[in-house]
């Protein structure tokens, strides 16, 4: 059983979590073009290495961020959304 540390619920079986995609700052709606939005929605880097991702603890609907190595499958750390630095528009 693989465990993940949820910032709200502590260590839980990874089957209790849902993957939510790579973290990207949202483009500024005032300044961005349609193509910027298309790239924001579809085009991820799909990094082979360390990546910051959205995860959700399904049972409690709690969304948070995890830093994970996509080659070794190690979860390096998890953090609540509040720890993210303020983005220009988020």
């Amino acid at each position: 059983m693989k465990l993940m540390h949820c910032p709200l619920n502590g260590q839980r079986n990874i089957s209790e979590f849902t993957y939510g995609g790579e973290y990207h700052p949202m483009p500024n709606p005032e300044e961005s073009t349609v193509d910027t939005w298309i790239e924001y929605i579809y085009f991820d880097k799909n990094t082979a290495g360390i990546v910051l991702e959205w995860w959700c603890h399904t049972a409690t609907s709690y969304w948070f961020l995890a830093e994970r190595n996509t080659i070794t499958d190690e979860i390096l750390r998890t953090l609540p959304v509040s720890e993210l630095k303020k983005e220009p528009v988020s």
């Binding site: 059983m1 849902t18 991820d44 799909n46 082979a48 996509t70």
Partner: protein, 413 residues
Amino acid sequence: MPLTLLRYGLSGKYPARRQFTETKPLKRHYDLVIIGAGGHGAAIAYYLAKYHNITNVALLDKGYLGGGNTARNTAVIRSNYLTEAGVKFYRESVQLYQNLSNELDYNVMMENRGQLTLAHSDSAIRSFRWRAEVNKHLGVRSELVDVQTIKDLVPQLRISDEARFPIMAGLWHADGATARHDAVVWGYARGACSRGVELHQLTEVTGIKTSGNKVTAVETNRGTVECGMAVQAVAGASSVVADMAGIRLPIHSFPLQAMVTQPYKPLLTPHVSSPHLHVYVHQTSRGEFVIGGGSDPYPLYNTRATLDMQESLAAATLELFPFLAQAKLMRQWAGTTDMTPDYSPIMGKSPLDNYYLDAGWGTWGFKATPISGQTMAQMIATGNTPDLIAPFSLDRFYNHRLVNEAGATAASH
């Protein structure tokens, strides 16, 4: 062929004949560099050499010929997809497979087994009816079948109202087939090498040099080679290689796990698939039961196997075939599926003028090997996009023309 075989049998020495080019130093320049010597890369090289007379080609692989996802897929060939673009494309591929052993003069062990997909709900029956009609309209043999027909087709299936998810109907696809995946890539590579293509194994591409809007050279662990054109056919590493050329793709790479039992006497002819239970099963000509399922729940560039997936695949298999309860598993492995948002490949031109993409082969790469090779070769030779693959261009994401192939395996994310 039989005469050659007879002479070989009577020769007494049984000399091994070289099938692929010997490893020699890389040349400074090739007209075309193909990155990835899997089924697709080898097929592109073959069709270019045989039908377009383009032979100054290097076929590079970081590992061995056909040692990546070509070796890891579960060798299902079918064309019962749902979109017009998808059905037409895979239909052509199935037809090419039918004649592939003759085309390559190499036995790819093609077997027309048929494929049965199971419905466990009313909504699945509705979607099967839709798929069957689309398929029939486009000349693909698919039909909705009732429980009695399923019993006749696959008497080994457990059909019971006591089941957690009783089988209610099925989609029977008589064109479903299987072939030996290794033989497919060996046959294509042999045909390409005999016409002058150079196969370079253990040659990893580490960088792609560009100038303006063109690729000029490919850097490898064995030196830099200049190229007139380059194509990437690296399922499982599409984003990583495209990134070297400065191209971003709408792909997420997930492992997809499969496993096989020890061999048994032949007793299951068709492929049996249950999208609801996330499992598909067929018996190979060696007698092993191959069991595959959906992709892993999160992306990973790693082909490790997990106990979680083994348990869920085994549980689903026993729902369908309880007689396998005592079967022993021999192997479990994973391949990397490059999943696109619309479950369709990304083929054709890239933002660079002389760089072509053969990417996004999620769970549909093996069955598309011949037609991908043929159409990509046409495109590289002529510079024009064949109609068959026009819907799969990278542009579709910018033009809001996604293909939405709901007939794909593992279309569950």
